[in-house]
């Protein structure tokens, strides 16, 4: 927090007008960094060129400081010009919060664990034109998962249901039970990492479960272990894969 004296000083400068304040500020900064008079003059001249009464971004920052408004990660942006405002994530960080979802652009995203499509890296204020196909893309326009069973009947699982009981586990999967060589259409969720659950050994092995991974754990570029949603939304078809000569009832993504 600035001291009252600093606020008074800044306020006085602000009263002189944005242009003068910018000049003074630039000159002061130049003095701090370089005692060369030429550098001071140059900086002041640049400030004159850039700063009119309306003020530049730097000028605005000074006014914020003067008014006691500027705090790290808490810029006022309504009148700012020439620079971008802080991201939502930065504001959260400034207030000791992380990953709050209300108010983010993912207003239209149907599940907070699956980021919206088309959001530029580092700017979660960007409003994607179509993020309902979430789950990382390739969702075929579905906000959920549609399964075409072996008997050609169809089941749709809404996106919100996929992580309804998720509680920050490392892995999270939609669990399908296999009975008599095909899915019995019961749906469950668990945090088991294995894709398949079997009993017995080949050639008399019996598959009992298949897991469609929704959230997986991996090591990112910084060496940190993180859990993140997988591109999951879309249409799937029940198939029997062959893995090393053993049948595996699975879902294969159609669209």
């Amino acid at each position: 927090m600035p001291t009252q004296a600093e606020i008074d000083t800044a306020a006085a400068k602000a009263k002189q007008g944005g242009g003068q304040a910018a000049i003074d500020t630039a000159a002061a900064k130049a003095k701090q960094n370089n005692n060369n008079q030429a550098a001071i003059d140059t900086a002041a001249a640049k400030a004159k060129q850039n700063g009119g009464d309306g003020g530049t971004a730097a000028d605005f920052a000074d006014r914020e400081a003067a008014a006691g408004l500027y705090l790290a990660g808490n810029h006022t942006i309504s009148a700012g010009r020439g620079g971008s405002g802080p991201s939502f994530a930065e504001r959260e960080a400034a207030n000791g919060l992380t990953n709050t979802t209300s108010g983010r652009v993912a207003l239209r995203a149907t599940n907070p664990y699956f980021p919206p499509v088309g959001t530029p890296l580092g700017n979660d204020e960007f409003v994607a034109t179509n993020n309902v196909g979430g789950g990382g893309g390739g969702g075929g326009g579905l906000a959920g998962i549609e399964i075409i069973w072996a008997d050609q009947t169809i089941e749709f699982i809404e996106a919100a249901d996929l992580t309804d009981t998720y509680n920050d586990e490392a892995y999270w999967s939609l669990v399908l039970t296999v009975s008599s060589g095909s899915f019995d259409k019961t749906l469950a969720y668990d945090s088991t990492a294995d894709i398949f659950t079997t009993t017995g050994t080949a050639p008399n092995e019996v598959q009992t479960k298949y897991r469609l991974r929704l959230i997986t754990q991996y090591t990112n570029g910084d060496g940190d272990t993180v859990s993140s949603g997988i591109s999951a939304y879309g249409q799937y078809r029940e198939v029997t894969l062959c893995i090393n000569g053993s049948p595996r009832q699975s879902l294969i993504k159609v669209t």
Binding site: P203, L241, C242, G245
Partner: protein
């Protein structure tokens, strides 16, 4: 046991690289339907068999052939024969069918999977493994299969002695066909060898 290269195959989405014919086997004399796991294990992983075909009259014999790696079966069946002029042993994955006990459009009639192709009448054709040896005045035949349409078991002067039984080799059940006519030859199948994975 030989070690194979690991693989995953989508194939026809049914566990095999092709669609399977549905066959009404309700009037077949002998049938041993397999589970999907047994059928895929045989189709993909069979490497060879413990089998003999010896013609002592002619002084010939054959050794069982070896099928190539499972990965190479993604395009279809494999069948190999080792033979001499009077003996032969075949190991094959040719043909996998869906066996129904009645009309094939009613899934309630589904019995299981069958290894083999053909009409089910000629054992040498629809056997998964078949061994044969000829002698001066007769022959020996043995085959393992999932189905046999006609019951020609019995003893006659023309065909010798034909018999059918049920055996389990390598964990997979089969109908075993044997025919022995005269002396001076012998044939038998006593086991199956499968590829394993690292």
């Amino acid at each position: 046991m030989p070690t194979a290269t690991e693989f995953t195959a989508l194939g026809a989405g049914n566990g095999f690289p092709f669609c399977l014919a549905k066959v009404d086997v309700s009037d077949y004399a002998f049938k041993e339907p397999l589970t999907l796991s047994q059928a895929t294990s045989y189709f993909w992983n069979i490497e060879s068999a413990s089998a003999t075909a010896i013609s002592s009259d002619f002084g010939e014999s054959s050794t069982p052939p070896t099928l190539s790696e499972p990965l190479e079966r993604v395009c279809g069946s494999k069948s190999e024969i080792n033979s001499s002029s009077r003996t032969s042993i075949k190991v094959s994955t040719s043909g996998v069918i869906l066996m129904y006990d009645g009309i094939v459009t009613n899934e309630e009639n589904f019995m299981g999977y069958g290894i083999g192709s053909g009409s089910g009448n000629i054992s040498s054709i629809h056997s998964a493994v078949f061994a044969r040896a000829e002698s001066f005045f007769g022959l020996s035949e043995v085959g393992i299969m999932s189905f046999q349409r006609i019951d020609n078991s019995g003893t006659s002067g023309l065909f010798g002695t034909i018999a059918y039984s049920t055996v389990t080799l390598g964990g997979v059940p089969f109908v075993k066909y044997t025919r022995q006519q005269g002396t001076g030859s012998s044939a038998d199948i006593t086991g199956l060898d499968f590829y394993t994975y690292p």
